[in-house]
């Protein structure tokens, strides 16, 4: 025991996708130590791409996978056991909307029995109390509910998600989560249609009994890129929201944990996407494709393995797509000799590919990228123009109006 009270517990954020911890920058060696590069820590299971919401910033790939290609119950259960054996600790059950899978309870039970920490990432609008109780009984550890705005602005929330009555339903479900004694995170994607209400959203999360809230500025990849002009806040709006988050962290210390995600158009350095490619996180699509990141399929030319063909450990260790951008050997200048190369790993490979045509280039989010100035300018211009209508995400194609379909067909897939 040391009399100088050193930090006895080191904290490591395990961000999914492009998220990053809102707190002080972590020393890279510390992350390497805690996250252990040899075995992945987290697995994001996209159980389905079906979803009742039509959010214009949907993070699923532009090409959605169909219900008849989804893995079976047994295949997901087998994957959970393989994940635990590989050393994975946390399973994020996501989608689409994972609760449309009728076998969700069985999958959760298998994961929990294998010793995995299970996190349900849901839009909540389809959940029934009884189903939630069964999930808890099966061993579910944590629930994350996404919201579009606070309950004081339900019309705005429902307009953004393209789901009438969604705001009210989410509130009811969040209440059940707490009644059942499950911990709750509220995830709020932030953009120009709700950036003025960040304080209200944080307070709403507190009121809902959440232990944690994510103030997550939208990341403009995949579908969200189609709606960038409709969603991008101005730099001034972003700065204001950042101030509010900072003050709330202080005011609400010990009451709620606030994680923030910066829109990288307004950042100086890129995010360490996925905490480094093939380093800590695995993503599995509804049909069983195993990806280093949920958007990786946007990089043409990469070859992805399927869990139906090979063991998870084999894919993780030797899979083409995982090896391609793992570590730092693949880097070009300015990344290759950059002192930050093991802090941010050159940013997002998908964004580098989308904007430069080569995924090995520096992410234009980095101020050292030759494209950075031009790229940042886009945000400035678009955010000051009148917002065009949303291109809603709906099965079967895009629309400027939210569709009327409310509940996707469930299946026993």
């Amino acid at each position: 025991m040391n009399e100088h009270s050193p930090a006895h517990v080191k904290e490591t954020a395990m961000p999914l996708g492009a998220r990053q911890p809102g707190e002080e920058e972590k020393d890279s060696s510390e992350i390497a130590d805690a996250a252990c590069a040899r075995a992945p820590i987290g697995l994001l299971a996209e159980l389905t791409h079906r979803c009742p919401l039509q959010c214009p910033y949907c993070s699923n790939p532009v090409e959605l996978e169909r219900v008849n290609t989804e893995l079976t119950t047994q295949e997901w259960q087998d994957l959970m056991r393989q994940a635990a054996a590989l050393g994975i600790l946390q399973i994020h059950l996501s989608g689409g909307e994972p609760t449309v899978r009728r076998d969700l309870v069985e999958i959760v039970k298998t994961a929990a029995d294998a010793g995995l920490y299970t996190n349900l990432i849901t839009a909540a609008v389809l959940l029934k109390r009884e189903q939630l109780a069964k999930l808890k009984e099966a061993g579910l550890d944590h629930v994350q509910i996404s919201i579009q705005d606070s309950d004081t602005r339900p019309e705005n929330a429902d307009r953004i998600g393209g789901y009438k009555g969604g705001s009210a339903k989410k509130k009811v479900v969040a209440g059940w989560v707490r009644e059942l004694g499950l911990p709750l995170t509220i995830n709020a994607p932030i953009h120009r249609h709700n950036v003025d209400n960040v304080e209200g959203i944080i307070n709403y999360a507190v009121e809902l009994g959440a232990d944690r809230v994510e103030i997550a500025h939208v990341q403009y990849y995949a579908w969200a890129l189609k709606n960038r002009a409709a969603l991008m806040p101005t730099l001034e709006q972003f700065n204001e929201s950042a101030k509010i988050v900072e003050k709330a962290r202080e005011d609400l210390k010990g009451i709620i944990v606030i994680d923030a995600v910066v829109p990288d158009y307004y950042a100086k350095y890129p995010k360490p996407c996925m905490g480094g490619w093939g380093r800590g996180i695995i993503n599995v699509t509804p049909s069983g494709r195993v990806l280093p990141c949920h958007a990786a399929e946007s990089i043409t030319g990469l070859e992805f393995d399927n869990i139906k063909d090979k063991p998870l450990a084999e894919i993780w260790l030797n899979g083409d797509a995982f090896q391609k951008y793992r570590g730092t050997d693949w880097m070009k200048e300015p990344c290759r000799t950059c002192p930050r190369r093991e802090i941010d790993f050159g940013g997002c490979r998908c964004q580098a590919f989308a904007l430069t045509g080569d995924a090995a280039n520096t992410d234009p989010a980095c101020s050292l990228s030759p494209l950075h100035a031009q790229w940042a300018k886009v945000a400035e211009v678009e955010s000051h123009e009148a917002a065009p209508p949303f291109i809603y995400r709906r099965p079967g194609g895009a629309s400027a109006k939210p569709g009327t379909q409310k509940t996707p067909a469930t299946s026993d897939a």
Binding site: K10, Y204, G254
Partner: protein
């Protein structure tokens, strides 16, 4: 700021009976040969002292009880141990890892 927020920050004191809530898992990670704490989208890497303290956070023992026990094991002054534990547990309580 916190209008509508009835919840208050829990302050850790000697009489507090800290407990690890059910959704936080203190687990031995055999593959990596260490203890870890699993939390939503977070991992915590406790050192040996922290593991000893957290194993005793059962909602029954007070901070003072825990300090007494560890003071004997580590042969260190109770006052120092108590201060150390309170600082650590307050930090963990603020992060939602421990309920006080």
């Amino acid at each position: 700021m916190a209008e509508g927020a009835q919840r208050v920050r829990a302050i850790v004191e000697a009489a507090t009976r800290p407990v690890i809530p059910p959704h936080i898992k203190l687990r031995h990670d055999a593959g990596r040969g260490r203890w870890i704490i699993l939390a939503p989208e977070r991992l915590f890497d406790p050192d040996e002292v922290a593991v000893e303290v957290l194993k005793l956070c059962d909602g029954q023992r007070t901070v003072a009880d825990i300090a007494d026990q560890l003071a004997k094991e580590y042969n260190a002054p109770v006052s120092e141990i108590t201060a150390d534990i309170i600082e650590m547990l307050q930090d963990l309580a603020d992060k939602g890892v421990v309920k006080a």
